[in-house]
């Protein structure tokens, strides 16, 4: 069983209410990455709605509000199925952890049936130019904060050679571009895209004078199609960094160059 599947699906027959246990190979610092939490919670919610009769197996649009940090370990996901229709099923889910159990994140998701990417019919968003993964930057500098995080145990990233902050040069352009895949060879699927939408280093590393802590308030991911096997190419862009907040827009393409997901999050800038 691949790590991502073990850490995003409930274990059958567990005594704890939902059976989900957040893994410890998805952390930034000592907290699980927000996209990983979204993926694990939404996948568990989808299973709950399927048990209640929903035939929809794929996440179409998922929004998570991050109220308190999550933690590795058992998590109770309390799902409420709001509607099952012909095309979509919609549910809300609260993610509780700790003793006493405390709400960490709240998710609202609409599930449906996704297909492979279709040929462009009207308009299509093309991927950016980037060298192949082997010619991109491996984040191997052990002094980088992110390289002390366990997310690197599960996830492989290759950043665009122009990524300025990796070389100590802030480019002033709040964009991150890079390749991403799961380290154990598990191919991407819609659940993994929810994680990948939040996995690249923050865009604002290119513009902030100091390394900042940028907790996510809210993230929404639209999965537009099922990805082909292989690397996912991700581009994250911020256009308005003001008033202590910024948005981060994500675009994910599969290995055939087809857009498979779009994301947006609102985050706070907390100076270290």
């Amino acid at each position: 069983m691949f790590l991502f599947d073990r850490d995003t699906t409930p274990v059958q027959g567990q005594a704890r209410p939902s059976g989900l246990s957040l893994g410890d190979a998805w952390n930034i610092g000592d907290k699980p990455n927000g996209g990983y939490i979204m993926a694990a919670v939404a996948r568990t919610m989808c299973g709950h709605t399927n048990a209640l009769g929903s035939p929809h197996l794929d996440p179409v649009t998922v929004t998570t509000h991050y109220l308190r940090p999550g933690q590795p370990g058992p998590a109770d996901i309390r799902t409420e199925l709001l509607r099952t229709g012909r095309t979509f099923s919609t549910a809300t889910g609260g993610h509780h952890q700790g003793d006493p159990a405390t709400l960490r994140t709240q998710t609202m998701a609409t599930f449906g049936t996704l297909g492979a990417p279709e040929p462009a019919q009207y308009l299509t968003l093309a991927p950016p130019d980037i060298p192949p993964p082997d010619d991109c930057i491996v984040r191997d500098n052990p002094n980088l904060f992110v390289n002390m995080s366990s997310i690197n145990d599960s996830t492989e990233m290759r950043l665009h050679p122009d990524t300025g902050w990796m070389k100590g040069q802030h480019s002033g352009i709040a964009t991150s571009v890079g390749w991403i895949r799961l380290r154990d060879g598990r191919d991407p699927d819609p659940w993994a895209l929810l994680f990948f939408a939040d996995a690249l280093p923050p865009t604002v590393f290119e513009i902030l004078p100091d390394r900042a802590w940028v907790p996510t308030i809210e993230m929404t991911v639209h999965v537009r199609a099922k990805p082909a096997p292989g690397w996912i190419l991700a581009r994250m862009t911020s256009r308005h960094v003001a008033g202590g907040k910024f948005e981060e827009d994500g675009e994910l393409w599969d290995s055939t160059g087809r857009l498979v997901a779009q994301s947006r999050q609102l985050a706070m800038i907390l100076q270290p």
Copy 2:
């Protein structure tokens, strides 16, 4: 009392559970506009959270999933306050209408305290070039579907002179730019921005061969600052129209040219 306030705030002392009644001057066709529903529901939810002790009066990030069409008339908003913290309060709210009461939309919102727009600190999204409102297009062609909709009774829009579909010429560029304000002189506030984020004609009118019906699946609005009085300038853009769905990204600037909100919705393309 201005129309927008009457139609987005509960009437005190009403027998119906939440006291909110959706107005009839916000329709596209015979259904209330999705942004108007978001504004009325989120504002009602905020009032409920304030009654429960939340000190936060402004919408910071609001997501609505549209499960069934709403309708003008009494609406029951069932709010659950998830957390009140120092900076934010988060709640979910179901919007029920009809007999028997049926869930129409579900909203998740984080409320906080917004300020006036700040001078650009790091990065700012500048408004597009557009002639002043008096040199833009008034949608006065009575044959246009949207001009048979009651939204024009409450809301004034002036579209960019380059708007191709208004002249029967599809530009092929899925962008809508225009000025918007409430017709009775009520100035914009964060609640009105939730409505404005969905009020311009769909971007896809510039690319679809036939007039399409484009119901919203999900919409998220980030309110970034309190707007100054006067017109709001809105730009809506779609970049990926495929597989029967498209995203519509909205950017709203106030009369001083400062960005005050960003939005994204996922919608379906249903051919007429």
